[in-house]
């Protein structure tokens, strides 16, 4: 296995995976390429944001759908594309509903609420927050929390995400809004 980094000698491996419900590949992909670069440069899925590039800001997270039906965030800037080989991934482009031509027909509930609550300003961190909130809401659907644990649960889910326009409170309120107004996510909700 060559360790050379020169462009002409980059060794590749075939990669195939499912992204937003569609089969991608098999296609040759450089073996050390990070997922975010694969999304941006190979698939033109440019919605995932490269922020810090070192796993801190969480703007770049994608959703990994696991075989057991659960989902989790993965930081695409520090995770190699080949980590996702054979796996199912959702990116920010796969959250809203689209028609056959790929046009957005309906936002997801959390996207809608982020708009209604004016949660973001510059919007750079928003794809990460949408994915984090989506993962949280799916988790609540599988295992609802008690009403008095909801705030802590939201904080825990969003805490790692950094927003420089200080939209934290409005992101928080929007997620709480969806959680409280979607049946079955919170126990004893009134």
């Amino acid at each position: 296995m060559s360790a050379s980094q020169s462009a002409s000698q980059i060794s590749t491996q075939d990669l195939s995976l499912t992204i937003n419900g569609k089969q991608v590949g098999p296609m040759p992909v450089p073996e050390g390429l990070m997922m975010i670069d694969f999304l941006h440069e190979y698939l033109a899925l440019t919605g995932s944001r490269l922020g810090c590039g070192q796993g801190v800001c969480h703007a770049c997270v994608v959703i990994l759908d696991k075989p057991d039906g659960s989902s989790e965030e993965v930081r695409s800037c520090i995770t190699g594309a080949h980590f996702f080989k054979g796996k199912k991934v959702r990116t920010i482009e796969g959250i809203a509903q689209r028609d056959d031509k790929g046009e957005v027909t309906a936002l997801s509930p959390i996207q809608q609420k982020f708009l209604e609550h004016f949660s973001f300003q510059c919007g750079y961190c928003t794809p990460g927050f949408v994915n984090a909130a989506t993962v949280l809401l799916e988790k609540l659907k599988r295992a609802p929390v008690a009403r008095d644990k909801l705030e802590d649960t939201i904080t825990e889910a969003l805490n790692d995400h950094i927003c420089r326009c200080t939209g934290y409170v409005r992101y928080f309120e929007a997620v709480k809004d969806v959680a409280l107004n979607t049946p079955g996510l919170v126990k004893d909700a009134k």
Binding site: Q5, G32, M34, Q54, V56, C77, I78, T79, H82, F83
Partner: protein, 425 residues
């Protein structure tokens, strides 16, 4: 005397211990402390008692056990897990009811030297086994400093020990058997610097308490000083001259490590992280030099260069894929690390360690975000227990060891599984 102690590993019971203790009780010789090596460094020699005490309290790392993460200074509460049960650091503020406010300097010295307080025998979780070599003058300076602290009304937590260790009177016999006036040396030396380093390492810093293996009754194994011990989840590695040289440490590396928590061989983690934080980063340069001289000896062994890969790269492909997938983003494609993000894997002390224990533990559990001297930070490392299976971690560990550690690719899935289970992952 310690030979006799080792032969007692035969679980022959308390009776034999009592008889042995009675026979050996007279064997204690005089204190071996070299008075020239005690005290504070030159710059503080003429400082007042309390200032000297402040330095010595840090050198002795009292806060490691006596200051809880979210508690008041020196009010106790830090949990120390052991095979015998749980100990808790005690309140050593000058509070008269809950702390040591009623103790005299004499009584304080007795606690450090003999493990005896005005009301009881201490368990050797309090390292009087090491502090025994402390000079009376240094004990008095520490006492003076502690007596200046704010008294805190916080009751001590009782030890939670299994039978028969919960019978405190047994400590008397333990002391007769195992309490030595000085600890054995792992290195050879005679220089003044080495002597000072011995005092700082063996007495004040009580390095041996974690780095020397222990026998069945928790006694330090005097035949294997500083050979490394598994007292907690992260193992304290071997820090003998040979052990340090085999991982590529130089005196300079050690001094930088003690001062900043980081060296080319990696950053302090596990229980060494608070040691740097609370103790070694405050020591003056001459004392850090003394410690490195003591650990390596007056004639240090040359550091071993990192050997070339031990295994054909073809055998390591699977592990390399795991590395590129989930590690290289922070530790670098070629294991070179990223400043202020993640340490280098190439030549890392835990990767170069013949025992893969700490490498596997770090991979499974992760390492929390770390703050070092000044503005230096290292990012938190996630644990991979839930995202990598035993096979992945085995292959990863073998890739790291063989490529950048000069170690064989001999980690097994069973080893990974055992460590995974023991943490409840």
């Amino acid at each position: 005397m310690m030979n006799a102690a080792r032969h007692l590993k035969t679980r022959s019971g308390l009776l034999l211990i009592v008889v042995g203790a009675a026979l050996l009780a007279a064997c204690h010789n005089q204190d071996a402390t070299n008075p020239a090596a005690t005290g504070v460094p030159a710059a503080l020699k003429s400082a007042d008692l309390v200032a000297r005490g402040r330095y010595l309290v840090r050198a002795a790392d009292c806060a490691a056990c006596h200051t809880a993460a979210t508690g008041a200074a020196f009010a106790g509460g830090v949990e120390l897990a052991s095979p015998f049960g749980k100990f808790y650091g005690t309140n050593i503020t000058p509070d008269k009811d809950y702390g040591i406010g009623k103790w005299s300097a004499e009584e304080f010295y007795a606690a450090l030297h003999d493990g005896v307080t005005p009301d009881k025998h201490l368990y050797s979780a309090m390292p009087y086994t090491s502090y025994r070599g402390m000079s009376r003058a240094d004990s008095d300076a520490i006492y003076a400093y502690l007596m200046q602290q704010k008294p805190i009304k916080l009751a001590n937590q009782e030890v939670e020990l299994k039978f028969p260790y919960n019978m405190r009177f047994g400590v008397r016999f333990w002391n007769m058997l195992f309490l030595q006036n000085s600890l054995p040396d792992a290195s050879a030396g005679q220089s003044a610097e080495w002597q000072r380093g011995r005092y700082l390492s063996n007495v004040m810093g009580h390095c041996a308490e974690c780095h020397t293996p222990r026998g069945m009754l928790g006694q330090l194994d005097s035949a294997s000083p500083l050979k490394g011990a598994a007292l907690s989840r992260v193992v304290a590695p071997e820090i003998t001259p040979a052990g340090l040289a085999s991982a590529g440490w130089t005196a300079q590396d050690l001094q930088v490590f003690f001062a900043t928590g980081m060296a080319p061989q990696g950053s302090a983690y596990g229980e060494m992280y608070p040691v740097v934080h609370l103790s070694t980063q405050y020591l003056v340069k001459e004392d850090l030099t003394a410690i490195s001289t003591y650990l390596m000896g007056d004639k240090p062994l040359p550091p071993q260069a990192l050997p070339a890969a031990t295994v054909d790269a073809g055998k390591l492909v699977a592990g390399r894929q795991v590395y590129l997938a989930v590690c290289a983003g922070c530790h670098g494609r070629e294991g070179e690390g990223k400043p202020h993000v993640a340490v280098a894997m190439k030549g890392n002390s835990s990767v170069r360690n013949a025992d893969p224990h700490n490498l596997l533990v770090a991979t499974l559990d992760g390492i929390g975000e770390q703050q070092f001297a000044g503005t230096e930070r290292m990012q938190g490392m996630p644990g991979f227990a839930s995202s990598l299976n035993d096979r992945d971690i085995m292959q990863l560990a073998n890739f790291l060891r063989a490529s950048w550690g000069g170690q064989p690719d001999n980690v097994t899935m069973e080893q990974v599984g055992k460590l995974r289970d023991s943490a409840g992952h």
